[in-house]
């Protein structure tokens, strides 16, 4: 930690949050809100005089509220930076009449009540997302009595309780009477592996964390009786099984089955009822203290950051990597990488491994100082441009410029263009070519998807990042669906031109599905909002023409929703069967009469 604080190449911004990210690989511009500390980071020597005179006493968050701190405080003794800070909401104020005691005693004069939050803009080439996890709050698991019984603790609280730097100086005491407990129980999988409350996934670290705690306890207090209530013990890592074996050999009892209830006795002891899986009987265990081995859940900041950076999440709320085996620390967006628990629960060793991996991936990307651009970008055919400005309006990246006054046609900045193709789909004059996903290329696919037996086919447009990946995931999961599906890949659902849909129906498609990333998850910031508008517009035109609008569907499928993709394909096939040959023939006739681009005109 201190190394990171001192390193000449590291600029450390604490009390800081990302508020905006613009740009693309190699050229990100990041806006950071640096909150005021009210104590000069440079000047403060962490002498602590200020805290001694501060009259405001509050629970210490670092010690899970088991001890107290002042309004001006150091987060913990080894904090980096070591400087103190003021929680300004708790502080009585800088008016000498009211308080300002800390400022009076500070010899270095590093306390400044007028410090204000500042916005910092940083230009960077790559981003490593290492936002970590939060511990599960066991309040909702009422049966364990976490909120009712003083001697029921979360594993993180217990961690502070036995820490030498903790509230009791490392002395193991029971919260209710501050005496050494004679017996301690640990409950595993609190908030993990449950279909009912908390998360369904395994939080990875809790088994080993409990085993570690039993070993620490046995080392200092061999006489304490320890019982661990568990579903399975997962000691899969290097050296883990040895620790588990050692714990058992020291007399720690591992009892299969989780408590159904925890009742407090008059002396604040706890009676824990556990269903013995082997005998089928309820067994009661009397314990002085109970520790809930809480699981891990995604950090609260995950969702906001995901939206800002245009990333994807797995259904359990962690960041989705570009490939689970081959690109475990890359995001699907170029220039963004993951490290640690942001990508899923993991222990310290794995977090460190990922941190190093992410740094190697960054170096691999940046070391030359230049890279080849993705040539899949949009291009304007200047002579067709009518200066309407529609492309400028829909481009999520501000990559298109146009000067109406001087009659300069639209132009795409290829470095800023990410290649979603929304502009090409929206241009009313067909003046924009989306390279590698041109109208001609896609029309060729549509034609062949619907030949020779269009009525037996379901035409599906799927975006590369979410829906196409979701289709792949259905395949990887071996989920079976009807073989009538013919899928056309575009980079973004925003590329699906109105003319593709009319072409499909004109060639006899019974039903057409447009699919993309969920709103808010679009790989191209928010290009899919134009997909929504476009599909709605086409549906209205279909209705006017006398074509059932239900035959055109728009659905969002994420990269992780293989099951949803497969069931959606089943549904589309059922819809296809409902469309009669007469209905198809009538549609084909209607569209043959109407002009292609704008059939209702």
């Amino acid at each position: 930690m201190t190394d990171a604080g001192r390193h000449p190449n590291i600029k450390l911004l604490t009390l800081s949050e990302i508020i905006d990210v613009k740009g693309y690989v190699g050229n990100f511009e990041v806006k950071i809100l640096k909150k005021a500390r009210y104590v000069s980071e440079k000047e403060c020597t962490a002498c602590g005089e200020c805290a001694r005179v501060c009259p405001v006493v509050r629970p210490d968050e670092f010690n899970s509220g088991l001890s107290s701190r002042r309004a001006i405080h150091s987060p913990f003794p080894q904090a980096v930076p070591a400087a103190y800070l003021i929680n300004i909401n708790e502080c009585l104020g800088h008016n000498p009449v009211v308080c300002a005691k800390c400022a009076e005693v500070c010899e270095k004069k590093c306390i400044n009540f007028h410090m204000s939050d500042e916005e910092v803009v940083e230009s960077v080439g790559a981003i490593v997302v290492a936002t970590g996890v939060e511990a599960y709050d066991p309040t909702e698991l009422d049966e364990y009595g976490y909120t009712r019984h003083e001697n029921v603790l979360s594993s993180l609280e217990f961690e502070r309780l036995v820490s030498a730097g903790g509230p009791s100086g490392g002395e193991l005491i029971r919260p209710s009477d501050r005496k050494l407990p004679k017996s301690i129980g640990f409950v595993q999988c609190v908030g993990s592996r449950s279909a009912r409350k908390g998360a369904s996934y395994c939080s990875n670290i809790c088994c080993m964390n409990t085993i570690k705690s039993t070993l620490v306890l046995k080392e200092h207090h061999p006489e304490i009786e320890i019982k661990v209530f568990y579903i399975d013990i997962r000691a899969f890592g290097k050296g883990f099984e040895d620790l588990y074996t050692k714990s058992r050999s020291l007399g720690v009892q591992f009892i299969r089955g989780l408590p159904g209830s925890v009742v407090e006795s008059a002396d604040k002891g706890l009676r824990v009822a556990v269903d013995n899986g082997a005998s089928g009987k309820i067994v009661f265990h009397d314990l002085d203290m109970l520790v809930l081995a809480v699981g891990l859940k995604p950090a609260k900041t995950t969702k906001r950051l995901q939206e800002m950076l245009g990333l994807q999440l797995t259904p359990d709320g962690f960041f989705l990597e570009a490939h689970p085996k081959l690109l475990p620390v890359d995001a699907a967006t170029r220039g963004i990488f993951f490290a640690g628990c942001a990508e899923g629960p993991k222990d310290i060793k794995d977090s460190v491994t990922q941190g190093s991996a992410a740094s190697a991936r960054v170096a691999r990307l940046l070391h030359r100082g230049e890279m080849l651009s993705e040539p899949i970008t949009a291009e304007v055919e200047a002579e067709k441009c009518k200066f309407c400005g529609r492309c400028v309006e829909v481009c999520p990246y501000g990559a298109i410029s146009l000067d109406v006054k001087r009659k300069l046609p639209a132009a795409v900045n290829p470095a800023a263009c990410a290649g979603c193709g929304t502009c090409a789909a929206e241009c009313p004059f067909d003046a924009i070519v989306m390279n590698h996903f041109t109208d001609r290329q896609i029309m060729g696919q549509v034609e062949n998807a619907l030949t020779p037996a269009a009525d037996k086919r379901v035409l599906v447009f799927a975006c590369n990042w979410c829906s196409y990946a979701g289709a792949d995931y259905a395949g990887v999961s071996r989920l079976q669906y009807p073989p009538s599906i013919r899928l056309v890949r575009t980079m973004c659902s925003g590329r699906v031109d109105e003319s593709f849909i009319w072409e499909g129906f004109a060639r006899g498609a019974p039903v057409i599905l447009v699919s993309g990333c969920h709103i808010g998850d679009c790989h191209y910031i928010d290009a899919n909002k134009w997909t929504v508008k476009r599909v709605e517009k086409i549906r209205k035109k279909m209705e006017k023409l006398g074509i059932r609008p239900e035959r055109l569907r728009l659905e969002w499928v994420s990269a992780a929703e293989g099951i949803r993709f497969a069931s959606l394909m089943g549904e589309m096939d059922r819809l296809r069967r409902e469309v009669t040959p007469e209905e198809i023939a009538q549609t084909v006739r209607l569209l043959a009469k109407a002009p292609k681009e704008n059939p209702e005109a």
């Binding site: 600029k11 980096v80 930076p81 460190v352 941190g355 390279n435 060729g444 073989p483």
Partner: protein, 203 residues
Amino acid sequence: MKKNSTNDGAPRIGVYVCHCGLNIAGTVDCPKVSAEVSALENVVHARDIQYACSEPGQQAITKDIVELGLDRIVIASCSPRLHEPTFRQMLERAGLNAFVLEMANLREQCSWVHMKEPGEATAKAVDLVRMAVARASRLEPLQSRKISLNKRTLVIGGGIAGIQAALDLADNGYEVVLVEKSPSIGGNMARLDKTFPTMDCSI
């Protein structure tokens, strides 16, 4: 290079239908697919192949590109999300532009999802390759351009993973901005007393 630009004449497409061991061939009749598509317009050469992505597979395709003067390649195998970069590199090594490649997804989106309907899966595979051939005949070579990269890196989160990433980068000579929302770095790890498997303290 002539092969890098669109030929004056009709496209010369090579189609390769990959068995992927039994992943595709277990359901889809690969020789039948390649036989059916060989008659398509612009298809100069079509064959099935054991593992297109393997070294011998890539060598065989490269050899065809050179000897038969192929200028568009259709690989009917797994998802392009997996091996598109592999085959693009292969094309470049063979002297073609990386973007005259089209993949038909016969594995994730055909053989694996229609495992009980080999006849239907084979028919669908033919369709998918036909769609790919149609697209391939209209593909144009594309050129990348150089973009400059800022060598600074932003690390969001000062827990153990973020610290490690920042230190490794910094030690390698890269400038790092390490952003942490709380007043100190250290994250959850700093709150732990002892850590497994070494049983030492966390800070």
